[in-house]
């Protein structure tokens, strides 16, 4: 077992955890957090794949690294949008979950 | 010479570790939120300072070393702000309950 594999397994577990939270948590903010965990696990797996591609004197394949950076920024923007929608929802309805409406 | 510097590094870093430990223990042992804030803002800043001090012989001079020192100063600034910020929030709340000292 190497460190890289270890982080790979960690990433897999994070994906599972994020998925669980996304399904089970009723509150939207908790769902947003779960989505972030899920995304982070996915990117961690991608990072592990990058690390396994260490070559040419670089510790980690630069192509996935660049993609991860792009995905991180996109995920942040998505979180902002989700939080903004949530804040509007709370303002309008006083609720922070999507459960009771059709 | 290298040996002496290495010994210096080891001593300083280990001392730094002690302060990090003290910060943690203080955070866990101190009785209320404000006293815990003392532990947070004082001990770990010193710990970081000692780690930086210990690392100074191990990096390139002048820029590498000065950069580390600048980094510690930044951390000190952060610590010096966080303590009063949180302290103010906690105190304001506490003041609402009991008459001011």
């Amino acid at each position: 077992m190497s460190s890289v594999t270890l982080f790979g397994l960690c990433g897999a577990a994070l994906v599972g955890l994020g998925l669980f939270g996304l399904i089970v948590q009723p509150g939207v903010l908790r769902k947003i957090l779960a989505f972030n965990l899920l995304g982070s696990g996915v990117l961690l797996l991608f990072g592990v794949i990058a690390r396994r591609g260490a070559a040419a004197g670089i510790g980690s394949d630069p192509v996935p690294q660049a993609l991860i950076i792009t995905a991180l920024v996109v995920a942040f923007a998505a979180t902002v949008l989700a939080v903004a929608l949530l804040r509007r929802l709370v303002q309008e309805t006083g609720r922070d979950s999507l459960d009771t409406d059709g | 010479m290298t040996l002496a510097l290495n010994v210096f590094t080891i001593v300083a870093v280990v001392l730094g570790l002690v302060f990090f430990l003290a910060g943690t223990v203080g955070l866990l042992r101190f009785p209320d939120t404000l006293t815990r804030l003392h532990a947070l803002t004082k001990a770990d800043n010193l710990g970081l300072g000692l780690v930086v001090l210990g690392l100074l012989p191990q990096v390139a001079w002048p820029f590498g070393g000065l950069k580390l020192i600048a980094l510690w100063l930044l951390a000190l600034l952060a610590g010096a702000t966080v303590g009063p910020l949180l302290g103010h929030a906690v105190w304001t709340h506490a003041r609402g309950r009991e008459p001011p000292p």
Partner: protein
């Protein structure tokens, strides 16, 4: 036919056209955003015809060359670089998108005007810029050849589509948008995970290279299987295939009519298009056959489930939204019909050209028909002040042209001749019988009956001559009715065109990449 295309640009022009198609909406988006105010609308209305021209030129170039167009961005070839590609299907969808968006743009002018006295208003600026963004995202999806580039394109689409849902700002639409966003983000992230795994196993994200490496004869890496499964799951969530459909009806019904038209007609097709590409262009045949059964089963469930729920809706827009669920189901029947091992003894797939054409035709005719329906529903709701199905009695007498357009679009959805929907469903039916998969025909027929049922609920009272005459709260502009009618006619005319002229959609399919005729 050939003489028609001597006017098309030489092949060398074809490839840069792809860049134009991708970047025109992006540039227009930035311009519209900076100029703001009333200029946003002007920029959109000026850009849309140019974009339509570019789409026509690409279709002509593809048809002229009879082969896929390629462009390596920055001159960097895959796997390091990213390339664009346009086969017949891409060209068809680019064209469909441009046509629908032109209609939506003309239709939406009345709804998204900056009020006099104001320099700029919230909804118009958001709508026009988001419309361009949807366009950019769709073109990027249809032209992309790189899995991660496609991820960015999907995100572009998400960020454009979600605010469209809640442009009205009511609590219901905010909740719908939030639910849509969460589903879409889950879909994106699963898709991204799939891309990462493909890269980990094969070191490339380029669809053509990936397909070649997967087909190289070595056993398929477990990562590739997991990747395909994850990507499909993610894309299904974005396409709203049963049982991942929960977000769609409130979102599509809550958006303003022009937005609903774009979302229902085009945006859900983008993720479907990627599922098509994943299974037909990336994954090797035997796996596709397996996946096809699963996908088609879900599609069949969606046809029945969506149809039944559409029957029970009280609001017109909800009814149309549920109809989208069902019509998406038809698209997934394409998989087993195109990738059928039944006609060939070995596991080699036979691509049934008829089924493929039928599937694409369903995609296109549904896009026209559904856009027309939502826009007609918007006119009706605006004129009546409500969109309750119960209150539509006698509508045909006050809004004859709108109801006629609605009925024409309905013809296509039901699959009645002479519409495009009929041609599509007929091709799919005959493919099902040819490949011995008669059970899908039952589903399609049942779906047709359900469609007939829920449209009858709308059209029967609307066309009845009894009852008191309706009073309109607001007059309907004739030009907007004409736009809707035009789109509805498009969906019908598709059925009148001889099938042989749909050669375009086959280009790039037959033996060009991945699987083909033996």
């Amino acid at each position: 036919m050939d003489s028609l295309f001597t006017l098309t640009p030489p092949a060398a022009w074809g490839a840069p056209l792809l860049v134009t198609a991708l970047m025109l909406p992006v540039a227009a988006l930035m311009l519209a955003f900076v100029l703001g105010g009333r200029h946003a609308e002007r920029v959109v209305l000026a850009t849309l015809p140019i974009g339509l021209g570019v789409a026509v030129a690409i279709a002509a170039a593809v048809l002229h060359q009879g082969a896929t167009l390629h462009y390596d961005l920055g001159g960097w070839a895959p796997p390091l670089g990213v390339s664009l590609h346009a086969d017949g299907l891409s060209a068809t969808l680019l064209l469909t998108t441009a046509v629908v968006l032109c209609a939506v743009g003309l239709y939406a002018r009345a709804d998204f005007r900056v009020p006099s006295g104001a320099r700029e208003a919230r909804a118009p600026l958001a709508f026009w810029t988001l419309l361009l963004a949807v366009w950019a995202g769709l073109n990027a999806v249809f032209l992309g050849q790189d899995l991660f580039n496609l991820y960015v394109a999907l995100e572009l689409l998400t960020f454009a589509a979600v605010p469209l849902v809640c442009l009205r700002g009511s609590p219901q639409t905010i909740a719908a948008a939030l639910r849509y966003l969460l589903f879409a983000l889950l879909g994106s992230v699963l898709y991204l995970l799939g891309g990462a795994l493909f890269y980990g196993a094969y070191g490339t994200l380029d669809i053509a290279l990936l397909s070649a490496r997967l087909a190289s004869g070595d056993p398929i890496a477990p990562a590739a299987l997991a990747a395909a499964a994850l990507m499909t799951a993610g894309l299904l969530a974005k396409t709203a295939l049963f049982p991942l459909h929960l977000w769609l009806p409130p979102a599509h019904a809550g958006a303003p009519a022009a937005g609903s038209a774009v979302l229902s007609a085009l945006v859900v097709k983008a993720s479907f298009f990627l599922i098509l590409r994943l299974w037909f262009d990336v994954m090797p045949d035997p796996l596709t056959h397996l996946a096809a059964q699963v996908l088609a089963t879900l599609g069949a469930a969606a046809i029945l489930f969506g149809g039944i729920l559409a029957l029970r809706q009280a609001r017109l827009k909800m009814l149309i939204a549920y109809s989208t669920l069902a019509q998406i189901g038809y698209l997934f029947l394409v998989f087993p019909l195109v990738a059928s091992p039944a006609a060939a003894p070995a596991l080699d797939l036979v691509q049934a050209p008829g089924a493929w054409t039928g599937g694409v035709l369903q995609l296109v005719s549904h896009a026209f028909a559904k856009a027309a329906m939502f826009m007609a529903a918007g006119l009706i709701a605006g004129a009546l002040g409500h969109d309750q199905v119960r209150g539509l009695g006698g509508l045909g007498r006050v809004l004859p042209m709108t109801v006629f357009a609605f009925a024409l679009a309905g013809l296509s959805l039901m699959g009645l001749p002479p519409s495009g929907g009929f041609a599509a469903k007929w091709l799919l039916l005959s493919a099902a019988i040819e490949t011995g998969q008669w059970w899908w025909t039952l589903v399609m027929l049942a779906g047709g009956l359900l469609t007939g049922g829920y449209l009858f609920r709308v059209l029967a009272p609307a066309l009845s001559t009894r009852g008191p005459p309706l009073t309109l709260v607001k007059p309907v502009e004739r030009s907007r009715e004409l736009v809707v009618l035009g789109l509805a006619l498009c969906s019908v005319v598709l059925g009148l065109v001889p099938l042989s002229s749909f050669g375009l959609v086959q280009i790039g399919r037959l033996g060009a990449t991945g699987i083909g005729l033996p």
